[in-house]
């Protein structure tokens, strides 16, 4: 077998795959954040908690109601998205007219409350969620071993990200959304129900987080803190990609996952910080982010 810079290919491609998996979660989560930020101008700090809720709803579906993974993949985003709609209608709407910093504080507080409630009920040691039977095992590709479930996560994330991009950039509904993001007052004056769009957008962004949570459940343990750990990195991804940029969120999410994975191979000591180093560099050179429009 060949070696690259003294690294065996099994280790290299293994980390590339891990990087792609992490990148999948970064991409879906930062995509949801970007969609929400674009229209609501709120940095949704509850996003990590909503990702965690997605994983928990999948776990509850299985353990309380016997609903399998595939149904949960559809159901959990709907349930958690509905709680998002309730949050927007009952709370975020009331602070829409004040400084956006209040939205950040509110969603941050909500995240702490939600995580606290789940910790209280389920503890913080984590709950196991089985990989669905159809996706157990894997395939030896010669240069590496590919577990089916991990391959599925990457493919499912890519499909969801591209479908979201298509919805926003290529459909009539997406044009409403972009118009409302750019100039809500005028869009409303054309007879378009912008408050409804805002509510649905928040619900959709939250549903994306929950979808990522279900995907994550069989890989990481279902844990009340699983979102809190991840969300900090995701915010860095969003900053690097550019706040509010749809394509930016997707491309940056996957690329940074990859870069992180490669760093684990070539210089493991930096793997936990490489994304933040890139964030600092990007902020210095291009403060609006790689794909962001300067304000």
């Amino acid at each position: 077998m060949f070696e690259l810079l003294g690294i065996p290919p099994q280790a290299l491609f293994g980390q590339v795959l891990l990087g792609l998996i992490n990148g999948s979660f970064y991409a879906i989560l930062s995509l949801g954040l970007a969609v929400i930020f674009g229209l609501l101008n709120i940095i949704n700090f509850t996003h990590g908690a909503q990702y965690m809720m997605g994983a928990f709803v999948a776990w509850m579906c299985l353990n309380y109601f016997g609903i399998n993974y595939w149904a949960a993949l559809l159901l959990a985003p709907i349930v958690v998205g509905a709680t998002g709609i309730a949050i927007e209608r009952l709370l975020l709407k009331r602070i829409a007219h004040v400084d956006h910093l209040y939205g950040l504080l509110l969603t941050f507080g909500l995240a702490l409350i939600i995580q606290g409630l789940f910790r209280n009920q389920y503890g913080s040691s984590g709950l196991a969620y089985q990989i669905p039977a159809e996706l157990r095992g894997g395939q030896n590709l010669g240069f590496m071993f590919l577990p089916y479930y991990r391959g599925w996560v990457v493919v499912a994330s890519l499909v969801v990200c591209l479908a979201t991009w298509f919805l926003i950039e290529k459909t009539r509904l997406g044009a409403y959304l972009r118009a409302a993001t750019e100039n809500p007052t005028l869009t409303q004056a054309f007879g378009i129900n912008v408050p409804l769009l805002v509510t649905l957008t928040y619900g959709f962004g939250v549903a994306l987080a929950a979808f990522a949570g279900v995907l994550a459940a069989p890989i990481y343990s279902v844990n009340p803190n699983m979102g809190a750990d991840l969300i900090i990195v995701v915010f860095a991804v969003v900053v690097i990609g550019g706040m509010g940029s749809i394509l930016g969120a997707i491309v940056t999410g996957f690329s940074l996952g990859l870069i992180e994975g490669l760093t684990k191979v070539f210089y493991p000591e930096a793997s936990a910080t490489v994304i933040f180093i890139i964030m600092v560099l990007v902020l210095l050179v291009k403060p609006a982010g790689l794909f962001g429009r300067a304000a």
Partner: protein, 242 residues
């Protein structure tokens, strides 16, 4: 204060009484009164900051704080959100045209939903504004100023709205384009559209309008029929400070 004209005896399509509006704490309209009959083209003339644009915004419902009365086809709209007002059949071309940079020309054109039957079809709009047809896939703001203005007018003609509020459609445009906009407005009038036009340029306004309201410090201070414009030209110069 001039009484709003009861023109041609028709019941007004749009009737505004004692309209007041605020930007935050700043009180900018102090009681606007005006009437617009069906099929009329009426302009609001006045200096910068007189309250012309704010009047249009208040009729459209985009001013958050307003009071008084705005009735459209006999229906009171002062408490309605702008999206409901638009759906009654009022089309709005904002100042600086409001073309979306994040939408293509085609998406800009198709954005406002149809609010009434009888709007222009796309081929009819392209006949009116041939330039738009060739640029459908371009980004909205990549069009020239004149093309953007045509797009801004075209997109509300699709909706079936029959009262059009146009905020300075000639601003910053070359004379040849202004002529084209003027011809379009006269054509729309022939088709039976009712138009309220905010203008700085009263020479342009005189070529399209039936009547002119003069706005000063948030009030209508005079009304001049277009036929009487020549006789009142000195007075008008005084109002506008030109």
């Amino acid at each position: 204060m001039a009484k709003p004209a009861a023109s041609a005896g028709a019941a007004p399509l749009l009737s505004v009484r004692g309209l007041e509006a605020w930007y935050g704490e700043s009180h900018v309209l102090h009681g606007i009164d005006l009437d617009v009959a069906p099929g009329e083209v009426v302009t609001l003339l006045g200096r910068n900051g007189a309250g012309k644009t704010t009047t249009l915004k208040s009729i459209m419902g985009v001013m958050a704080r307003r009071k008084g009365s705005v009735s459209f086809e006999g229906k009171e709209t002062i408490g309605l959100p702008s999206r409901t007002i638009a759906r009654l059949g009022i089309g709005y071309v904002p100042e600086e045209r409001g073309i979306y940079a994040s939408l293509s020309v085609e998406e800009n054109l198709l954005l406002p939903p149809q609010v009434r039957p009888g709007g222009l079809s796309l081929p009819q709009i392209f006949e009116l504004f041939p330039n738009i047809k060739e640029r459908l896939k371009s980004q909205g703001t990549k069009l020239s100023g004149g093309e953007q203005q045509m797009l801004a007018i075209g997109r509300i003609l699709r909706t079936g709205a029959h009262l059009l509020l146009l905020d300075e459609p000639t601003e910053g445009l070359a004379p040849v384009i202004i002529d084209q906009i003027g011809a379009t407005i006269r054509k729309l009038k022939q088709e039976g559209y009712t138009i309220v036009l905010v203008e700085q340029n009263f020479r342009f306004a005189a070529t399209v309008a039936d009547r002119h309201y003069v706005v000063e410090q948030g009030k209508v201070i005079d009304m001049i029929a277009n036929a009487d414009l020549d006789a009142n030209i000195d007075k008008l110069h005084g109002y506008l400070g030109v």
